[in-house]
Structures are given as C-alpha cells and as structure tokens.
C-alpha cells in the first residue's frame, strides 16, 4: 500500500514537471521568436545606417576630392601656391 502511494506521488510530480517544462518550451519559443524579430529590426536598421554612412562617405570624398579643392582654392578663393620669396625658415 505504501509503495502504491509513493508511486502515485511520483507520477503526480512528474506530471507537474512535464507541464512546467512544456510551459517553459512555450516561453522560450516565444522569446526566441521575438528576439529574432528584434534582430531583424536591428539588421534592417544597420542596413539603413550603412546605406546612409556610405552615402555620406561618398559625399565627403566627392566634396573633398583634391581636384575640387584645387579648383575651389584657385578660382573661388583666389589662393596661390606660396611664392618662395614668402617662405621663412625658422630655426627650431
């Protein structure tokens, strides 16, 4: 009789454990799914930022291109290469 009661207790315990584990699986699956969704969101954001970044990089290098700087300095700002007469060498 004692053995029978013990057995029933075990079965109940295991049933509860199985239920808990099932709920756990449910929770984890849900978390995995939502985190994956977040990952996708972030990846999309990274993609967009990268797009933006490389556009800025290209814009920067177009604007800072040596030939553009050269033309701008010469034509718009009236700059010239320093004349050797205007050089002063200072002893350190």
């Amino acid at each position: 009789m004692v053995r029978f009661v013990n057995q029933r207790r075990w079965v109940a315990l295991l049933a509860v454990a199985a239920l808990l584990s099932a709920l756990g699986v449910l929770g984890t699956t849900h978390r995995a799914r939502s985190q994956y969704a977040e990952l996708q969101q972030l990846e999309l954001r990274r993609w967009n930022l990268q797009e933006h970044y490389s556009r800025l990089l290209l814009e920067y290098s177009t604007r800072a291109a040596p030939h553009r700087v050269h033309r701008f300095a010469m034509e718009e700002l009236g700059m010239t290469k320093p004349d050797l007469k205007r050089y002063r060498v200072v002893r350190p």
């Binding site: 990268q50 290098s61 060498v89 200072v90």
Partner: protein, 574 residues
C-alpha cells in the same frame, strides 16, 4: 399480427465482431498517424518534414560587407555601399496585368520589359535590375507585385575615380577583387557571407525569416601607403605632360626610401573604375617592363666605385667621342675629351661608361644590378607584377659585355628603377617595398646593399646632373636641392631599335641633404624636338617633387632665421 415472426435472437458473436471491426478502424487511423508523425521509417516523419521544407523553406545568403580601402590619411578609395538587385520569377510576371506599372516604376518602356520577360519565358529566375540604389528599388517594390522582390547586395564605389584606378583595382559584379589591390588583398577585404533560413509562399516571396544559420562577418579595412594628395598631383602632372608632349602613355612612381612605402603610383591611359565598361586596368608601373637605358649608369657608377679602381675624380679620356665595340660604333653627342668619372655620369657619356665597363668587366656591374633588386620581384604582392630580366649567358660577346652598363639588353619595371634609386636615398639600404602603411616605430631593417659612403657619393653626382651643366637641369625644384638621372631609350621595333620612337625617363632623389623621396617618371613616345629624358621627363619630375616636398613638410633650403622680431613682421603678409 400473429403472422409476425418472433425476432430471432441475434448471436452475440456477431455484435462482438462488428464492434471489434469498428474498433480496429480508428486504431488503424491512429497507427497511420504514428507511422507518419513519429516513426522514422522510409516514408515517415523526417522524410515528410524534409519534403515540406523543400517546398517552403529556403535559405539565402546574407551578403558580407567588404572592407574599406583608404589612403594613408584615411580618405576613402574604395567604399562598399548597400544596393538592391530586383529579381523576379518570369512565370508569375508573364500573366501579370501590372506590367505597365512595373515598367513605369523602372523607367523603361513596357515593350522593353515585355521583351526581357519573354527572353526568360522558360526560366524561374531573372534579374530585373542589378545594383540599384535603395531609393530606386523602393519605388518598384512598393508596387508589391507577386514574384518581384529585392535582394540586398553591396556595390563597390571608387570615390577617387581614375586618379587611383590602376592601383586600387576593381571588383567584379559579385564583389570579388579582379584587379589591382582589390585582387591582391581580396582575402583580407572580403568578409564571410552568412546564411539565413526563411519560409516562402507560392510566389517565392519570403513570408518570414526563421533563423540565422551563420552570421555574416564583415571584411577588414585596408589602409594604404598612398597619399591621395600626392596621387592626385602625380596624376595631374602626368596627364599634363602627356598632353604637352603628345606622348601615347606615361607612368610615375614616388617612394619613401626610408620606409619602403609607395606614396603614389600612376599611369596613363586611365580608366573609370565606377563604370563597368572598362578598358585597360593594367598598372604599367608594375606590369610593363622597359629597357631602362641611361638611368642605369648610376648603378654602373656604384660598381666602378666598389671596384676600388675609380674615384669620382679619376679622369677618363673619352676622345674622340666615339668607341667601337665588336662591330658596333657607339658615340657621344660631342667629343667631351678627358673628363672625370663624375662628369661621365653628369654628361651621360656613352664612351666613358663603356670604358669603365670594359675595365671592371660585366660581372660586378650585373652583381650590383641584382643586389639593387633588378631581375626579381619586389615584394609588393601586386597582381601581374613583372620581375624584369637581367642577362645571364654562357658566352658573352664584346658588345653584350658592355650594353648592361648603359642600360640596354636588360629590362625592368619603373617601380624597380625607383626602388633601386631608393638605395641611394637610404644610406645604401634597400627597404622592402609595400603598398600598405608602415608603422614608423617598427620599421623593418631592410637589407644593406652598398656602403653608405658610396651611396652619398652617388647622390652627390646625381645632384650635379641637375646642376647647370648637367643633362637634368629641368628637374631642379625651386627652394630645394634635388638629384637624378635622365634616360632616353630608343624603342625596339620589328627591325631593331627605332630612331623615331623614344621613351623619356627620369629617376631622382630629393632633397639632396637628407635624401628621402624617390620619384621615377617614364613618358612613352614624346613627340617633337624635346623627346629626351632631360626635356620630356625631367620637368615632370620637378613639378611632382615640388609638390611631394611641400606636402611632406620638407624644409626648403633657405637661410634660417631665429629672431622673433623678424617673425613678427611676417604676420601682416602683403
């Protein structure tokens, strides 16, 4: 009613057998379910799962970001930017009634679109457009057509354009380096693409992603030794020189002799790396060999000084201005008479150099050449780089023994010539050449090639070449002392050397007091009177070196002041 028969008692076994039969039917269903869903047999669970996945689950590549290539100051030379390729399933597109809208969004005529779809009539996949900017693609994707979707990719842009095109190289449409440094450092730049799994619907469109199998790993950035400002300067001056002289091609290299870094390398004709219609991607400074001619005389001078038989002041009689070697008669432009070894180089006297070569023999000369790196690859790792050629024979005729001394009968790339002269600028040491920025605190030792004393003497002679009586006066740079050697090489035609086609060369070091920067110039087939190294190449050297010295903050050779009152006067300017 009496006729009614009394119902016969039904035997129990019949009831039982029907009940048993009915009970077996659901059991069979259960068994089938277990068979399909649980048991792992031939047509069982895993088989079905696989079949299902085959129909709905797809995996796709996650493109990896290719590393940036920048110059030594961080200016971008090659940038990967996200783009979208539009792909479609022509089977779904064919019957779509929205083709007109699609064509409008793509800004092409509906006929052209129809034609392209017809071309792929029996296919399941086609590209509608490749490498569009995300904005362009968004317009098309907004139509939400079944069977049309966007694929993310990266495309390479080259902000410096043609200025650094031959050096940086290009990638192909799939992002693999196929020329230049893009190819040489492909493994380093290229990331590892990842994979993800997604579920698709009937039209092949992704319903949702189900997981990342492998994350994409971005490639590494590459910082070059090139200074874009110098590169631009060189490019501009080279192009100007070619326009001025009517030449067909030209090449220029600038090195930092102390570190072995290539600061700029350009060649003409150029190409636009941002356009897919490419012509020549060849970097002539590394992939084309030339007969160097007179610029080799500086190396012959090294052999002469090393032999101990000559000093700079040893007098050689070059009268009567010509010399017969074997069956060949070689001559100087005029009879220089008895002149010192130093003058022989300054005037580039053929007779003088041949007399030296005949006296010391060809072995020590070729030995110097090979110590200076001629005939072997520099370790730049550039794809398609040539090693050049040094003669090596069993039997040497009289003329073959002397031709190397004045730079014929052997060939070298312009980069090798610049690298050879860098030995003079680095106290006799040859540094390993590199296109990558070198950490100045941990410089490689380099290889001792010649005695520092001899290197200093050669620099002295190179300086005299650019002095007022030398062949390279046009190489002078205002405010600085420079040195170098001219060369005018007759080109080889079908029937021997041509009288009408030349290559003009100049290789120089600067500044002479603390030599550091080596620049080599080659102008191919300059036209008109001024086709020589001294008149076609030396002025280009002068203009490039002026910029190199200014941009690298070299102090001009002017009287120094240390009086602060004099400094104060500078503030006002003019």
């Amino acid at each position: 009613m009496s006729r009614r028969r009394k119902p016969k008692a039904v035997p129990m076994w019949r009831i039982y057998s029907v009940a048993a039969l009915l009970a077996v039917l659901p059991l069979m269903l259960v068994w089938r379910l277990v068979d399909l869903q649980v048991l792992d047999n031939e047509q069982g669970a895993s088989f079905l799962q696989k079949q299902g996945a085959m129909r709905a689950v797809r995996s796709a590549e996650i493109p990896a970001y290719r590393g940036l290539i920048t110059d030594r100051r961080g200016s971008p030379l090659a940038v990967s930017t996200p783009v979208v390729s539009l792909v479609a399933n022509p089977q779904h597109l064919r019957d779509s009634n929205q083709l007109a809208a699609l064509a409008a969004a793509m800004e092409i005529s509906p006929d052209v679109l129809q034609q392209r779809i017809d071309q792929y009539a029996d296919k399941q996949f086609m590209y509608l457009a490749r490498h569009w900017t995300p904005e362009q693609a968004r317009k098309v994707l907004a139509l939400n057509l079944p069977g049309v979707h966007g694929e993310r990719e990266y495309r390479r842009f080259y902000p410096a354009g043609e200025v650094a095109a031959q050096l940086v190289g290009v990638t192909n449409v799939d992002g693999k380096g196929i020329a230049g440094l893009e190819m040489a450092f492909d493994d380093w730049l290229q990331g590892t693409p990842g994979r993800k799994r997604y579920i698709k619907d009937l039209y092949g469109e992704a319903v949702r992603d189900v997981g990342v199998i492998k994350a994409a790993e971005p490639g590494n950035d590459l910082r070059l030794s090139i200074d874009l400002r110098l590169q631009y300067l060189q490019h501009r001056e080279l192009q100007q020189a070619i326009a001025d002289t009517g030449a067909v091609a030209g090449t220029a290299v600038t090195l930092d002799a102390w570190t072995g870094e290539v600061l700029a390398v350009s060649s003409y004709p150029v190409f636009n790396p941002n356009s897919r219609a490419r012509k020549t991607t060849r970097n002539r400074a590394l992939t084309d060999v030339i007969e160097p001619g007179s610029v080799m005389k500086a190396l012959t001078l090294v052999a002469a000084l090393e032999s101990g038989e000559y000093t700079l002041d040893t007098v050689i009689d070059t009268s009567p201005g010509r010399i017969r070697v074997g069956r060949k008669l070689l001559n100087d432009p005029i009879n220089y008479g008895p002149i010192t070894v130093s003058r022989v180089i300054e005037k580039s006297s053929q007779v003088g150099v041949i007399k030296i070569a005949q006296h010391i023999g060809h072995e020590p000369i070729l030995d110097v050449f090979s110590r200076f790196g001629l005939g072997s690859l520099t370790n730049s790792g550039f794809p398609g780089e040539r090693s050049g050629y040094l003669p090596n024979r069993e039997r040497w005729s009289d003329i073959e023994k002397v031709t190397p001394a004045y730079g014929y009968g052997l060939d070298a790339t312009l980069l090798q010539l610049a690298a050879a002269y860098s030995v003079f600028a680095n106290e006799g040491r040859r540094m390993p050449l590199t296109f990558l920025e070198v950490d100045h605190r941990s410089l490689p030792d380099g290889e001792r090639v010649i005695d520092p004393e001899i290197a200093a003497q050669v620099v002295k002679v190179l300086h005299r070449v650019t002095a007022n009586e030398g062949t390279g006066t046009l190489a002078q740079v205002a405010g600085y002392q420079v040195g170098g050697k001219t060369g005018t090489v007759r080109k080889l035609g079908a029937n021997g050397y041509l009288d009408t086609e030349h290559m003009a060369l100049f290789v120089g070091v600067a500044p002479v007091e603390r030599p550091r920067y080596v620049t080599a110039i080659m102008i191919d087939q300059p036209q008109g009177e001024s086709h020589g190294g001294g008149s076609a190449a030396a002025p280009v050297y002068s203009r490039i070196t002026e910029g190199v010295l200014r941009l690298r903050n070299e102090v001009p050779d002017l009287p120094a002041i240390d009086d602060s009152t004099q400094l104060a006067g500078l503030g006002g300017g003019q």
